[in-house]
């Protein structure tokens, strides 16, 4: 399965395409589609008046595990949840957890 991600134009934050022109910093809000629908999703994400809200727009592979979306590659997990070390380690994972609590 795949989803569309990019970085928000104005601040570079990692964002995910949630459909209908919406982009979210929450990976849980991403539209996750079967591989045969991925190119259509990418095309939809790239539509809209300039400037698009995101740059570096691309498809990535992800899975849904126990209801949670999880990127397949380490690179994308680091983008989704934050660096694995240092002052900002896993900050997005904890922000996500805080938002859910």
């Amino acid at each position: 399965m795949q989803l569309v991600t990019g970085n928000r134009l104005r601040d570079g934050a990692v964002v995910y395409f949630a459909g209908a022109g919406r982009w979210s910093p929450e990976i849980g809000a991403a539209l996750l589609v079967e591989n045969d629908k991925a190119e259509a999703l990418l095309a939809e994400a790239q539509q809209g008046p300039a400037p698009l809200p995101a740059v570096g727009i691309e498809l990535i592979e992800a899975t849904r595990e126990a209801g949670h979306i999880r990127p397949v590659s380490l690179r994308e997990r680091i983008r989704a949840f934050g660096p694995t070390t240092g002052p900002m380690a896993h900050h997005r994972a904890s922000e996500t957890a805080r938002a859910r609590s």
Binding site: A13, P51, L74, R75, I78, P83, T85
Partner: protein, 549 residues
């Protein structure tokens, strides 16, 4: 330190205004990303994994307290409170918002700084010895020449779109502390038989996918001819350098494919045919630039060395710091202090805003306001009175800056890797942290040793030049690390040799421990790792790591 004149101020202010308008047009949708990308890159702004990354130029690693405080302020206000000092003596901020960048560049301009040419296919930051001007073994202070090159190279109209980026280093000491031979173009200050100062010119070094050491193309270029000779070398590169293949575009590939003799011949022909007087360096101009680097007014009064020695005798931790982090100064009673940004377990090269402020305060109080960045990702206070050293160390130590590991096995050079960088294929920081934690207790046993880690083939962590180098790569979704042995960045520069199959991330620390164990068992007397390695070869290391074949 060089101070901006009216031209410099106007130039940088105009650049900020141009960039502010470019950002406005991008955010308004009047510029596409394809149109905007080269504009932001020309101002040092990259897009990386988590946000934009701003690479701020620190010319030849020279800072003063005012600049350092401004960097601390920017780090605190616009980023996440910490920055990363790089192997190019620059500072990277990894959590930058595009919409803030015009204000950040304006703040930098207010203290005579910018981020121009920290990206793109042009000249990057010219680097030099962090001990420049204070080292007892230098021919002449190399900083005026680095500054002359900076001025010549900034927006040079002929060389703004080279086949690829271009890095220059200048060194003036017997000991090469600037890793000159890994540069596209390296300069060693030399004296000829008449006692005149000039330059040995080396070309074609570089790391990355195809590592080479720079080779000498001219043993002595007179000072007056420095820029005309550089222009000739750059013209040959600009004309013949590959633009059709990114992986073959650096000057090292050209020098290697032509052969150094043919490349030299081309440069000589170009130089002799050029208008050398157009960019000749008159002594008056060199003197004018050099006047910005005159030594401070040292306190030459006697100092209480007995008190220093009593502190050393009474405090083992301080004694170790004195042994590893404090270096001779050419003025009696003074010392050069290297502040380690390699606290064990922390990110190599990272520095918090509070730590930057502290170093600025200490620079003001104890080092005539000067601080520097070393390419090994540490900071330097170049002019500290010896009697102030104990108090200085205590204040550094209280702020997490007191690590006494300069040149030791935990003083690891490390790029940001996959935790931050869009080009990386594997993580480097966590690997460095694990190795440092494991090796910390053995540090004194091991002695001088360097480990260098890169998270991709671009080699920002200089892994080819590590006694042990680690290159992280992605192998079918798994991080594995290729090990090189025998690299060296100094006078006996050498590219490390890959010793066998890459090891898994979980096995890296054990592998390092094994390899260092072989060294400590086999070394004779005071032999350094490169000396032992050259004597015994790879066999005992391979056998210890991979088993007998």
């Amino acid at each position: 330190m060089y101070r901006y004149d009216d031209f410099d101020h106007r130039f940088v202010d105009e650049r900020v205004a141009q960039y502010r308008d470019q950002v406005r047009r991008r955010l308004a949708g009047q510029l596409t990303e394809d149109e905007f990308r080269p504009l932001r890159l020309m101002n040092g702004l990259y897009l990386q994994l988590h946000a934009y990354m701003l690479r701020i130029a620190i010319p030849y690693g020279m800072l003063n307290a005012t600049k350092l405080r401004k960097l601390a302020h920017i780090t605190r206000k616009y980023d996440r409170g910490y920055g990363h000092f790089t192997t190019r003596q620059n500072l990277q901020l990894h959590w930058i918002k595009l919409e803030d960048t015009p204000d950040i560049l304006a703040e930098l301009a207010s203290v005579e700084m910018h981020a121009i040419q920290t990206s793109g296919n042009s000249f990057r930051n010219t680097t030099t010895d962090p001990f420049a001007g204070v080292a007892a073994d230098e021919i002449e202070d190399p900083r005026p020449y680095a500054e002359i090159i900076r001025q010549w190279a900034t927006l040079h109209p002929e060389f703004s779109f080279l086949p690829r980026k271009f890095k220059i280093a200048v060194s003036s000491s017997k000991e090469d502390r600037a890793a000159v031979k890994m540069h596209d173009l390296g300069l060693y200050l030399r004296r000829n038989e008449q006692g005149e100062v000039g330059f040995e010119v080396l070309v074609g070094g570089g790391l990355g996918r195809t590592p080479y050491l720079a080779q000498t193309i001219k043993p002595f270029v007179a000072r007056r001819d420095l820029l005309s000779y550089l222009e000739a070398a750059l013209r040959v590169y600009n004309r013949y350098g590959r633009r059709d293949n990114l992986y073959k575009s650096r000057i090292k590939i050209l020098v290697h494919s032509l052969g150094v003799a043919k490349f030299t011949e081309e440069v000589e022909a170009e130089w002799l045919a050029s208008d050398r007087e157009a960019v000749a360096l008159p002594d008056t101009y060199v003197s004018e630039i050099a006047s910005a680097f005159t030594p401070p007014s040292y306190n030459r009064a006697p100092w209480d060395e007995a008190a220093v020695q009593r502190a050393i005798a009474s405090d083992k931790a301080f004694a170790r710091w004195m042994k590893n982090n404090v270096f001779p100064h050419k003025v009696p009673g003074h010392a050069v202090v290297t502040i380690s940004l390699k606290e064990v377990g922390k990110t190599p090269g990272d520095c918090s805003a509070e730590q930057m402020d502290l170093v600025a305060e200490l620079a003001d109080e104890l080092s005539f306001g000067e601080a520097r960045v070393a390419y090994e990702q540490n900071l330097v206070l170049p002019h500290v009175r010896r009697e102030a050293l104990y108090g200085l160390w205590k204040r550094l130590d209280a702020a997490g800056l007191g690590s006494s590991n300069i040149g030791q096995v935990t003083d690891i050079i490390c790029c940001p890797g996959l935790d931050y960088c869009g080009l990386a294929t594997a993580r480097s920081i966590p690997v460095a942290q694990r190795i440092a934690r494991h090796m910390a207790e053995k540090e004194d046993l091991v002695g001088k040793f360097n480990i260098k880690i890169s998270g991709c083939i671009n080699a920002c962590g200089h892994h080819h030049l590590g006694h042990i180098g680690l290159l992280g790569v992605d192998k079918n979704g798994e991080e594995v690390y290729q090990i090189t042995l025998g690299g060296d960045a100094g006078n006996n520069a050498a590219i490390g040799t890959i010793i066998g199959p890459a090891v898994k991330s979980d096995d890296v620390t054990r592998a390092i421990d094994t390899l260092i164990g072989v060294y400590t068992n086999l070394r004779q007397g005071e032999e350094t790792f490169p000396e032992t390695y050259r004597r015994v070869g790879t066999a005992p290391f391979k056998e210890a790591l991979y088993g007998p074949h």
